[in-house]
């Protein structure tokens, strides 16, 4: 009975979302205040019913109601409760419900905090968000209902995919979705502005914290995914340019461009049409990401779901959303475009260069990801595009961006000021070269590693140069407004990430070896002694657990326990054992047993063992987390929360008064 209530709640939410889309937008068009005023209560109502449906599905997992097909598919009696909880979004149907729930949380927040926006604009924003919710709820009910019954109910469920039984995977999807879905707010703002044919930079300012928060979540979600792949897939890799990873990376790239473009529109009123276009693309790529991962269109080692009917629906929805918004953009962009001229060596130009590089790399990633599908559709053959394609192009495109990065904060809005560039360039390059020389002396001898150290120091020193300059010049207490602090964190994060990514790549030592108990393998500066394999029981698995003693020059560093788990249905899952460290990880995972067992209790024959020394690998995620922190920090700036009357006096972090942009008059 209870699952039927969930179904009913979903249907009611669908109806409410249809109204939430239609009434306010119609009201804004006809200038009917009562219709526009319905938006807020419809948002709340829709949220309540979606939350109810989500709660009921969670309840079904908690009480192990196997008469619900989705529960029976993704849980069983032995699954611990915390994984039953995360199993709610462990597969397609539930993760879709989570998507809508998160969309509703964002919508609710917009409805709650957006009261000071002009009435029509506010109504249109909530209407657009309602449309998105409608599409996803319809998708859920029509093609992937989480409450479908399985009669007669089985005695026990199947299982949650063991790959997903990991703490990293409890958090990864919700955080990633917070990011994906968060771009819907910037999207709704763009569409609402285009519908009204008017864009005030104060609205863009108001939408900035939303985009920054979404971007911060997306960064965190990607970090969580990368960390999960590293610890769970057992290969020790942290990024594979797998289509599913690309799906989350493309919105991130465009989102990064968007938060910078929004800053220009906010501060200077420039790049308005471009900002709107980026907002449309960031959200479209988020939708595409959902489509790529969830439709099974990709033959990726990552994809779990396979159902073409769903793919057709999302493709249709994608066509409506992307096609519709681009059409609207084509028709209306000229009414909202505008801005002030800027000099060649101004901050706008540098941000624009960064924007171009980010957008072009998103396009190349998109091409590489879709090319195999295109190839198949056009009957060229079954192609796969190798990781070097992405790596090569990405490095190439990011080089100008990294080179320009320290100078954007140092430049002025609108005007050229090359003197400061020269002074900064001398010091930054000197520091970067010194760091390169030190790295060489410490034993980094491959040019790639040296390049990584130099580039990383270049970014970090450049960002620090600005921070110090600001410390010296700005009055006490107003040195680092939160918005600027966010920028500093973000840029430091890029520097840390570069160091981590390139040093891990060049300095890692990876060995797959066959080890018998008692045998020692020397990897990097460490000795790994394999002490055999024993059995261990977990809540719902039985593991072959190896014992590996790691020592350096005779002193014990750590004892690692890699596992090979077997789950109830016979699925095998490798659990790597990792000794984490600021300057590097020691990583051991088990392959297969290689020889006949000796028969002695607690020990066995030789095993295939993967032994890695991965220096600086944590810096990759530390960099990502710094970026996330930057996004959140910037979003918290009070400047974004001021009432309209106070806006004119708002301080500008760069020390230049905020320009108040007159709205472009709409032509009849």
């Amino acid at each position: 009975m209870i699952p039927e209530l969930g179904q009913l709640a979903l249907i009611l939410a669908l109806l409410l979302s249809a109204l939430q889309c239609a009434l306010p937008i119609f009201g804004a068009w006809r200038n009917a205040k009562p219709l526009m005023a319905t938006a807020r209560s419809l948002v709340v109502g829709q949220f309540v019913f979606v939350a109810l449906a989500f709660g009921i599905l969670t309840y079904a997992f908690m009480v192990q109601d196997f008469s619900v097909a989705y529960v029976a598919q993704n849980s069983n009696l032995e699954l611990p409760w915390w994984y039953r909880f995360s199993a709610v979004w462990g597969a397609h149907e539930g993760s879709l419900l989570l998507w809508v729930l998160i969309l509703d949380v964002w919508t609710l927040a917009v409805a709650a905090f957006g009261g000071k926006l002009p009435e029509k604009f506010y109504a249109r924003v909530l209407g657009v968000l309602g449309f998105i919710a409608f599409g996803f709820l319809l998708f859920s009910l029509a093609t992937s209902n989480p409450f479908t019954r399985l009669i007669p109910a089985p005695m026990d469920g199947v299982d949650l995919n063991p790959v997903l039984q990991d703490p990293g995977l409890i958090m990864h999807p919700p955080v990633l979705y917070m990011g994906y879905v968060g771009f819907s707010v910037a999207f709704a703002f763009a569409i609402a502005a285009l519908l009204g044919g008017e864009l005030q930079s104060s609205w863009v300012r108001w939408s900035r914290p939303w985009t920054n928060v979404a971007w911060g979540f997306l960064s965190a979600g990607i970090v969580a995914g990368s960390w999960w792949a590293y610890s769970e897939l057992g290969w020790g890799g942290w990024w594979f340019w797998d289509p599913v990873e690309n799906a989350s990376f493309m919105p991130w790239l465009v989102g990064t461009a968007l938060i910078h473009a929004q800053a220009v529109t906010d501060k200077r009123g420039g790049l308005r049409a471009w900002t709107l276009l980026l907002a449309i693309f960031a959200f479209s790529l988020s939708l595409l990401g959902t489509f790529l991962v969830r439709s099974g269109v990709l033959t990726s080692v990552h994809s779990f779901a396979a159902d073409p009917k769903r793919g057709v629906f999302i493709l249709g929805f994608l066509a409506v959303v992307v096609g519709g918004s681009l059409l609207l953009y084509a028709g209306r962009a000229r009414y909202v475009a505008g801005g002030k001229p800027f000099a060649l060596a101004s901050r706008e130009t540098l941000i624009l260069i960064g924007n171009l590089m980010l957008s072009v790399s998103a396009a190349t990633v998109l091409l590489g990801t879709l090319y195999p599908l295109l190839g198949e559709a056009l009957n060229i053959g079954r192609i796969s595009v190798g990781p070097p394609y992405f790596g090569f192009l990405f490095m190439l495109l990011m080089t100008p961006l990294v080179l320009a990065m320290p100078f954007a904060p140092l430049s002025r809005w609108g005007k050229a000021d090359v003197v400061i560039w020269r002074r900064a360039l001398q010091r930054i390059v000197m520091l970067a070269l010194i760091a390169g020389i030190i790295a060489f002396a410490l034993g980094v001898h491959r040019w790639m590693g040296l390049l990584g150290v130099t580039a990383s120091t270049y970014v970090i020193a450049g960002t620090a140069f600005y921070a110090i300059k600001r410390w010296k010049e700005a009055p006490r207490g107003r040195r680092y407004p939160l918005e600027m602090l966010g920028m500093l964190f973000g840029h430091f994060g890029v520097g840390v990430f570069i160091a981590g990514a390139i040093l891990t790549r060049t300095l890692s030592i990876e060995q797959d070896v066959a080890l018998s108990p008692g045998q020692v393998v020397h990897v990097g500066n460490y000795d790994f002694r394999f002490d055999g394999v024993g059995e261990r029981h977990g809540p719902n698995w039985l593991a072959q657990q190896g014992t590996v003693e790691v020592s350096k020059n005779g002193t014990l560093v750590t004892v690692l326990h890699p596992q090979k788990r077997t789950y109830p249905r016979g699925q095998v899952q490798t659990e790597a054992s990792i000794h984490p460290g600021v300057f590097g990880d020691l990583y051991v995972s088990l392959g297969d047993p290689l020889g006949p067992s000796t028969g002695a209790a607690g020990s066995s024959g030789a095993w295939a063992v993967r032994v890695y020394d991965k220096p600086f690998v944590r810096w990759i995620w530390a960099g990502g987390l710094l970026m996330m922190l930057g996004g959140f920090c910037a979003a918290a700036d009070k400047r974004f929360r001021l009432r309209r009357s106070e806006e004119a006096q708002a301080h500008d972090p760069a020390g230049i008064p905020v320009s108040v942009i007159q709205p472009v008059q709409q032509q009849a």
């Binding site: 995919n161 790959v163 057992g234 033959t299 080692v301 990552h302 994809s303 779990f304 396979a306 001229p341 800027f342 060649l344 130009t349 624009l352 260069i353 171009l356 590089m357 072009v360 396009a363 190349t364 091409l367 590489g368 090319y371 053959g381 079954r382 192609i383 796969s384 595009v385 190798g386 990781p387 070097p388 394609y389 090569f392 192009l393 190439l396 495109l397 797959d512 070896v513 066959a514 018998s516 699925q571 095998v572 899952q573 490798t574 392959g591 297969d592 290689l594 020889g595 006949p596 024959g605 030789a606 295939a608 993967r610």
Partner: protein, 148 residues
């Protein structure tokens, strides 16, 4: 030239330059990094490259997996149920690698055998990668026409 025009010109030329460079490099990089997938039947028919790398997809034939005891050297047979191809691999096999399950290997031909540098198995054990399924279906269709 007035400032607005000048700015537009700069923006447009930047975009054109970026797109041009990106397009050239992308085509170059794509050509360098594309690998095609073939089934054992296609390899048998001489469609696969003899020297460069490609991917071989199919099912791991039952009872074909051999391991040189105490080492990481493995060999097994990948089949599309019409033709077989012996694959050699040194390294750790993925968790889902099993006899009777589908697999995609990357490598090149060495003698009459396929020397794999990478072996991928699917996460999901009930479902076959579509490209492998297609390859098998194609081999079946071809097999039927050739059968007497």
């Amino acid at each position: 030239m007035n400032p607005v025009r000048k700015r537009r010109l700069i923006i447009i030329s930047l975009i054109v330059a970026a797109v041009g460079i990106a397009a050239t490099l992308t085509v170059f990089a794509l050509q360098q990094n594309m690998t095609y997938l073939y089934s054992p039947s296609e390899v048998e028919a001489g469609k696969a490259p003899l020297t460069s790398a490609f991917r071989l997809g199919g099912v791991v034939k039952e009872g074909s997996v051999h391991r040189v005891s105490g080492t990481l050297q493995t060999d097994f047979v990948v089949t599309d149920r019409f033709h077989d191809m012996r694959v050699e691999y040194t390294g750790i096999l993925p968790d889902l690698f099993r006899e009777g399950q589908s697999v995609i290997t990357t490598g090149h031909m060495r003698g009459g055998e396929f020397a794999a540098s990478e072996v991928l198995a699917k996460h999901d054990e009930t479902y076959m990668p579509r490209e492998v399924a297609d390859a098998i279906a194609k081999a079946k269709a071809a097999g039927r026409t050739h059968d007497p």
